[in-house]
């Protein structure tokens, strides 16, 4: 079973997990994801790959603690083993020289967008990194991002950083300034990605989003992660996770993501009741 090398809390509710998985590390590309199970009772959780190290043979992901399985994951430590760590899954992000690319990340997406931004930088793009956090203390990997971006903005609701506007407003302000933006990549919660796509729609700037519908097997077998893109049903696990944000049926995605809302609460209550009576 794959061994955890590191598990640490980056900021409240957001954790990093680094797992020994040399086969996965060797094949990982920006934009791909892995599936992990915290224990044999857990769900198969898809997580974007936030980094990898071929020499060390490890793969890193950042996750938000939200339901039972992620709660369990956040309680594992270095040396613990997980029954499932499989990948890399999904298509890699398209990396080319576009010109100026805005990388907009929030929440777990700050970790997930890092390898994409790094690869885009290496491909010769000018990188404008936009990080969105609810509060200053929720920002992580600032140094890593500053090292690979030409411009770095943080918008935080308590405005310690650059501004307190929600990120699409910041995005719009940048666009208004008149600089040519060739591409926008956005990874984070569905709402963040949706609003980013809306912000660029009028100006027709290519906007790539890394979608996160509910998944089970992650290899195209079950169809749980299906969504509508440009009027056609796609499976996020094999056709994505990257899609053109202007073509996604967002309403359907929002709705499908909430499919198991009540079950998730019931599961969490059950687990908490058992472990913290």
């Amino acid at each position: 079973m794959p061994k955890i090398i590191r598990r640490e809390r980056l900021v409240p509710n957001l954790h990093l997990i680094e797992v020994e998985a040399p086969d996965v590390a060797r094949k990982s590309k920006p934009g791909q994801f892995i599936i992990i199970m915290p224990d044999e009772f857990g769900e198969r959780i898809p997580l974007s790959i936030a980094d990898w190290d071929v020499e060390k043979g490890t793969v890193t992901a950042v996750f938000l603690v939200i339901g039972t399985s992620t709660n369990k994951l956040s309680r594992l430590n270095a040396g613990d083993k997980v029954p499932v760590f499989v990948g890399p899954l999904g298509k890699e992000s398209e990396i080319k020289k576009y010109g100026t690319v805005i990388c907009a990340g929030g929440c777990f997406g700050i970790g997930a967008i890092y390898p994409v931004a790094r690869a885009l930088k290496e491909a010769g793009n000018k990188i404008i990194a936009l990080m969105d956090v609810k509060a200053n203390y929720l920002l992580y990997w600032e140094d890593k991002f500053r090292a690979i971006s030409d411009e770095f903005y943080v918008s935080s609701r308590d405005s310690y950083y650059d501004c307190k506007d929600y990120i699409p407003t910041v995005l719009k302000n940048i666009l208004k300034k008149g600089e040519t933006i060739d591409r926008v990549v956005s990874i984070g919660c569905t709402y963040l990605m949706y609003t980013c796509a809306e912000a660029t729609r009028a100006k027709k700037i290519d906007t790539v989003v890394s979608l996160n519908p509910i998944m089970v097997d992650g290899t195209g077998m079950c169809g749980a992660c299906r969504l509508t893109v440009d009027g056609k049903t796609k499976f996020a696990c094999v056709d994505g996770p990257d899609f053109d944000g202007h073509l996604v049926d967002w309403k359907e995605l929002f709705s499908r993501r909430k499919s198991y809302f009540d079950d998730e609460i019931q599961s969490l209550c059950h687990w908490e009741g058992k472990n913290f009576p």
Binding site: K27, K72, P88, G223, V238, R256
Partner: protein, 503 residues
Amino acid sequence: MTENKKTLSSEQKEELKIGFNLEWRKELRKAIPMKERMKIERQKMPERDPNVRNKDFLEVNCGLDAEAAVKEAQRCWDCANPQCVVGCPVGIDIPGFIKLIEKGDFEASARKLKETNSLPAICGRVCPQETQCEVVCSVGKATGIPVAIGNLERFAADYEREEGEVKLPKIPATTRHKVAVIGAGPSGLTVAGDLVKLGHQVTIFEALHVAGGVLVYGIPEFRLPNKTLQAEVAYLQDLGVELKTSFVVGMTASLDDLKVQGYEAFYIGSGAGLPSFMRIPGENLIGIYSANEYLTRVNLMNAYKFPEYDTPVFSGKRVAVMGGGNVAMDSVRIAKRMGAEMAAIVYRRSRTEMPARAEEVHHAEEEGIEFHFLTTPTRFIGDDNGCVKAMECLKMKLGEPDESGRRRPVPIEGSEFIMEIQMAVVAIGQSPNPLIPKTTPGLEVGKWGNIEVNWDTMETSMKGVYAGGDIIRGGATVILAMGDGKIAAREIHKYLGGLDKEF
């Protein structure tokens, strides 16, 4: 896709003849006259009460006891020219194992089975014997009721595992040839079992975290307990098969990567993992599952034990399952067990065209499943939260036969009606999973995405790369997948320089 008509090889015929002429077989044949044998009634498979079993996931069929098994074995005449063996896609020596049951040597019977079939407890449960070995049984032709070959196979395998001692066959010294088997489903397990017994080093790469393929994610506990399946997988591991789970060939490593790691021959048995949908409006509403997703949640992820297990699944009070195959039957019977008041099959043709096994349909009816024949949904209707609340259906009538020989359903105009549902499962079939074809340049695929093979050898367009099961067939049965595996194993052995006579 064309298949060969099955015939026995001269070696197989020779072996059957040797078995037939064994002294103890001659004595057994003499012990009970044929007339007496014909008087014995087919032993009924004990089943659990439909109204009890439709609320749990325990096995429906309980298995024959020793007394009944011996009696059933006595019904077999031990023909000189057994047609059942020809009917079996893997060519099991059927009279051989049945006569060992009649003799009372149940463990030897299981070993006899395992000479050709590494997975007898599985085949005894899920094979459609009624269309393969039992349909050609001489006893059946004479009396109308064939020997219960499947039930006997299951008996011998269960006896060995539960009451007896599982003995490993002698395995020749290693040939040092490395073979990669992709997919731990029925065909992959068969290839692995056959090749490891010839001394090859076999590794199975499985994408999911449990071995079994469709046997674990698809077929529910009440038809094939996971414990039984895992015991047969463990047997293969005891024989020396290496199993790597959570390894997606095509993603974690390509075929070429595996070549670099020293694998010389490949068998692709990656299955039909691409669900088909009906492409009607509203199909992405909440509460509409592909059969693959529904079965995977329940069987592989144990969602029926939620919240003990973390993966949830809907348990609608009114559930419609579209389709008429075994997968549809499994899905609808699960929905009933999950507490549905109405669990219904909605099938566009009539009862006679249903591809499901008669036994499964019968069990489903006993358990209170409704059947809506000649009905097809035209759209799903959702509520304000995006959850399915109804579907509009159209009545059909049967027209001219189509290319499959079944009468084509034709819609009856103006026959629309609304069926209120809270959940739907689409079980109308699946196509081959594209992951490996997409990531393996040079591998030729057909128009359905199926890998093209030479049906005599199962070899693909790439030398040393073989394929079988649903990845070449699209959506077939466990035993056909295993039959492909047997042919491929024989050919891989030849390819690796093995001698013909060992088969």
